[in-house]
Structure formats: C-alpha cells, structure tokens
C-alpha cells in the first residue's frame, strides 16, 4: 500500500482585480495532480520554476490549503482534517526546506531549534530533551556541543543538517524535501545528498524530493514525476525517464542539461536543436488548446505519459 496517495490535487491562488478587488481569476498552481509514494522510496518532482512543485509539497504538509483533491496519508485524507486533527500527523510528515539560512531561526540556539518538535509533542525533562537533541545531532554528524551555538556559526551544509536533524527528531515516515541543496555550494551539496541517502536507509524514510536539477534528481530518486504548469506530464522510474523520455517536454528538459564532457559539445548542441525543432512542430500534439498537458496515460506498469 502506498504511504502517500495524492488524488486529483488542485491548488488555485486567487487573483484579485477589478473595482472591488474581487477574485477575478485563479493561478492554477497545481492543477489536477495525482501520484503516490511507496514506503521507503524517493519520489522526485522536477520541473521548471513556477510549475507548482513547492505548492504541491506545501499542500501535502498542510501549509497551504488544497482547493480540491485528496492527500491520503496511510489512508487518511489530510485535506479534510481540521487543525487539531492534523496535529498528530505532523509527527509523521516533515519537511526540509530549500534555504538553510532562513529555515533556521537566527535568534535560537541549535538546542531550541532541534527541540522545538519535542516540546510540541513530548513532555521531556530538560535533561532528557538535551540528550535526545544531542543524539540526533550526532546522528547528522554534528558535535554535541553545537547545541549551544547559533545557526550563523555553521556553514550552509551544516545548517541544512541541523534542519534535517530537526525533521528527524520525531521519527517521521515521510520527508518532503523542497530543493534541499539548491542554495548550497557544489561541494556542500554532495555532503547533504550523501547524508540524505544514508539516513533514508537507516530510518526507512520516504522522500518526496523536489528539485529542478535533473542531475540531483537522477542521483537521488527512484521514481520521477515531471511537472509542467501545474500538471504532471510524465511519470516513471529514474531509468525510464532518463533513458526513454516520451513526452516532448521531458525530452526538452533533458536535452537542456549541459553535458559535463567538453568532447560531447557538438553532439549535445545538435541534440538540443533537434529536440527544439520537434518541440515546436509537435507542440499541439502534446498540449491542449490552453497549453495544458493532457491527463497521464500508462504506457508500461511504471511509466505514464501525458498524451491524448
């Protein structure tokens, strides 16, 4: 059974205008998206900026209200829950944020940051609390004395690990990682990615991994969903997407990635031109008259594409 099952999720932001600033239109940030996550896997959500990745992630964790659709977590529809009722699920779903600078309160010591969820869910004596915090911190590779430091005393990668430690304290089942490394330098990026993989194994975590960097997605994810303007255009295993892309948008995305081998320069350029041509020619085949993708259709048990 899927740990998380998203069904026809829609999130619209109102656009106000007109004389009385009434809602005149909506931004369809997420427009009918369905996918599911199995326990222990990493599901990657990729797409261009503004295609609705963040909105999807934040809706799942309850930071944004869904306009329609269901978010079934272990069978419970989270979108129907009231604030109170949602509370216990917070333990199970946690989030890693993009910016390790703004996601840690600069005025709080590491101890307070990491202990925050403990204080909300468990009643621990200060001593127990500190022990537990030190334990998780050491798990993420930070020394025990760091608990009395402030976030600005850490490097970006270390900060991201503090964020991860905070998400881990409650032993969550699902972690939503929204571009967890895009604010980090290449070398630090590797650190965090390696680490995320390690703890996944250790804790049996499930990741919803959001990124626009296909290299990282390929490195991290088992299955991938490609998003375009609030919809999924293709979904499949990592291999399928990278070696056998079906949707023209996927192909375009893949061809745009620079090739890290200078000798491949010419070929890459040619490929790009070719895809671009196809994109222009067959645009209407892949998108409806509003420029929106069609619903997904399975072409293999694991691979689905949005074609009419």
């Amino acid at each position: 059974m899927a740990l998380l099952n998203i069904q026809h999720l829609k999130v619209y932001y109102p656009v106000r205008g007109g004389f009385f600033r009434r809602v005149v239109d909506h931004v369809r940030a997420v427009d009918d998206v369905s996918f599911s996550l199995n326990k222990g896997e990493t599901y990657g959500l990729v797409g261009e900026s503004g295609c609705g990745k963040t909105t999807t992630g934040r809706t799942i964790i309850g930071l944004i209200r869904a306009t329609a659709g269901e978010v079934l977590f272990e069978g419970t529809d989270l979108t129907k829950l009231r604030r109170r009722e949602f509370h216990p699920y917070r333990k199970d779903i946690q989030m890693i944020f993009q910016d390790p600078y703004s996601s840690l309160n600069p005025r709080k010591r590491v101890l307070d940051i990491v202990a925050e969820p403990l204080r909300n869910f468990e009643r621990l004596s200060p001593h127990e609390e500190r022990q537990k915090v030190q334990y998780v911190l050491e798990r993420v590779g930070l020394s025990a004395e760091s608990i009395y430091k402030y976030p600005h005393e850490f490097s970006g990668g270390q900060r991201q690990r503090i964020g991860i430690a905070r998400a881990l304290t409650l032993n969550p089942k699902l972690i939503i990682a929204d571009e967890p490394v895009s604010a980090l330098d290449v070398s630090v990026q590797a650190q965090v990615l390696n680490f995320m993989k390690e703890i996944q194994q250790e804790y049996g975590l499930t990741y919803l991994f959001i990124s626009h960097d296909l290299g990282i997605i390929r490195h991290m994810c088992d299955r991938i969903g490609i998003m375009y303007r609030g919809r999924l255009v293709e979904e499949g295993t990592s291999e399928e997407i990278f070696t056998n892309p079906q949707h023209i948008y996927t192909k375009r995305l893949l061809s745009a990635i620079p090739n890290a081998d200078p000798r491949e320069r010419g070929r890459q350029e040619a490929l790009r031109r070719e895809v671009e041509k196809e994109y222009e020619q067959s645009y209407s085949r892949y998108f409806d008259e509003n420029g929106r993708a069609h619903p997904l259709k399975p072409i293999s048990p694991t691979h689905s594409v949005a074609i009419p």
């Binding site: 989030m95 005025r107 010591r109």
Partner: protein
C-alpha cells in the same frame, strides 16, 4: 558512523560566545565613539536628573515668589527664576525628569500596542490584517494636532497620565505598520513554515520565533522614537494645551520663549531647557544610529 553520546557540555562555557541581539548592539554602541560618548552623557544626565529630583520638593519649586520674578542666575537660583519667581533650575531638573518619563512612557506604550497589533496583523494576514490596516489608515488621516487639542479640552483630569494616554492613542500606528511589514516579511521565511510543520501553535510562533527576530528593529525604532517624544509636549504647551504648570516639563520651559521678552532678554528661562532637549535628543539619536547599524549587518562597523 557510530554515534557516541557524550555527556552534556556545561552550559556556561559557550554561552557568551553566541552574540544575542543585545550583545551585538552593545558591541556596536561601544565601538562607535560618538554613540559611546552619547551613552555616557545621557547616563550621567539621567542620573543627575533622577537623582537630584529625589531631593527636590516639587511643591517648593512651583511655589510662587513675587519677590524674585525673573531674577537672573545667582548663587541662590542657579538658573534664575521665571515670571512667577520660581526656580528655573529646579524646574529644569523636575521638568527633565517629567519629560523623559513621559517620552519613555509614550514610547513604551506605543511600542507595546504597535507590537501586539503589528504582530497579529502581519502574522495572520487576511481579513484580520485588513481590518487592522483600515483602522490604522483611519487613524493616520486624523489630524493629529487638532484632535489632541480637542481631547485635551475634553478630559476632565488633565495630568501626566492622561497626557501620556492621549498621545499614545495616536502614536502607536506608525509602529504597528512597521512591525506588521517586518512580520509579513518574516512570516514568509522558512523557519516560520518549519515551526508550523513542527506543530508549534501560532501564538508560540509569534512570541518565541518571530518576535526575537524583530527585537533589533524594535529597539532601534523605539530609541529613535524616544528622541522625538521627549520634546513632544512643548508644541502643545505653546498652544496652551500642554501640561499644567504645576507639573514642570521641558516643554513648558521652552515655550516660555514665546514671550518675546523672555526670548530676547531672559535666556536662562528657556535656553537651558532647549539645550537639554537638544542634548538628550542628540544623544539618543546617536545611540539609535549605532543600534541601527547593529541591526543592519551590512553597515556594521565590525
């Protein structure tokens, strides 16, 4: 990697190393010679004012003595007397105490109101914000001076307390707007989202997460405001709506200068008070500027 739980580190050792908002500000003030000088001068001034005023009898000072009207500075009256033969020096000290207390009280009250309302409006947004902002917009278009005058005419008992309350009723809006804007910005930061996803209740997020991050802005704003609020009653006194004379204030002394004779020939009545206001405002301002730099990492001296 093997986890080894090491014993908890003693708390004290590391704590000073972590600069809080206050220690950053303190450092900045100490580093800026002007600000440090201002702080020292202000401290001495306040110590004198509050200290000496303990030994002064307000009743005695505001006692009318027709035998020594407008006497120039002398050994008996260090700063001469005013038209009621009252000792200007005593009035200056008590007036400074009153004015500073008034300024401080207004600053704190408006700060508290502005903070509460600004935080609520900024954090919750939506209709709450809308309503609050409309109210603030409304208060901002009110002709402040005119309404204060009307209020002063209405209140049955007009004393320091009512004065503070009337002024505060109008002056909180600016702070509320500032705090709201900052809260709005702060609310968008991920640490707030993080707290939400960690199940922290809203009120805790507001007080324990957002508020500390606004502390430097608040301190700076309050400091600079304090400078403005010290002389706040002088204008009203000039118009005849200031504090009663039995409550000496710097504003009262300054506004004696509207009598052209005093302005031209009796400098001891109004000049010391004017200078005192100036010095206090400048000192607070300089400290405020240093704090402002401390709050803005880009401008920090080091």
């Amino acid at each position: 990697m093997k986890a080894e739980i090491s014993g908890p580190t003693p708390v004290g050792a590391n704590i000073e190393k972590s600069p809080s908002a206050f220690s950053i500000m303190w450092r900045e003030v100490v580093r800026d010679r002007l600000a440090l000088g201002s702080l020292i001068i202000l401290g001495i001034l306040l110590a004198i004012v509050y200290g000496v005023s303990l030994f002064l009898d307000q009743e005695e000072i505001v006692k009318v003595d027709f035998l020594s009207i407008y006497s120039p500075p002398s050994a008996e009256h260090w700063l001469g007397t005013d038209y009621g033969g009252r000792d200007v020096f005593g009035q200056l000290i008590i007036g400074a105490r009153n004015s500073f207390t008034i300024g401080l009280a207004i600053t704190l009250i408006t700060g508290l109101i502005g903070l509460t309302i600004g935080l609520i409006a900024g954090y919750f947004g939506g209709w709450i914000d809308n309503v609050i902002m409309r109210v603030i917009d409304f208060i901002l278009v009110l002709p402040f001076l005119m309404l204060v005058i009307v209020f002063v005419a209405i209140v049955p008992k007009y004393n320091v307390l009512t004065f503070i309350l009337i002024m505060s009723a109008f002056l909180w809006t600016g702070k509320a707007r500032l705090i709201r804007a900052k809260t709005l910005a702060e609310r968008e930061l991920d640490y707030v989202s993080a707290s939400k996803t960690l199940g922290t209740p809203d009120w805790k997020i507001i007080i324990f997460q957002i508020l500390p991050n606004l502390s430097s802005i608040i301190i700076v704003n309050l400091t600079l405001n304090l400078a403005g609020n010290i002389g706040i009653e002088s204008g009203l006194t000039y118009l005849g709506f200031g504090l009663p004379e039995s409550t000496p204030s710097l504003g009262t002394l300054v506004s004696y200068a509207t009598n052209p004779d005093v302005l031209q020939n009796k400098w001891w009545v109004w000049l010391p008070a004017s200078l005192l206001i100036l010095v206090m405002m400048l000192c607070i301002n300089f400290i405020g500027q240093a704090l402002k730099r401390a709050a803005d990492a880009r401008q920090r001296l080091g």
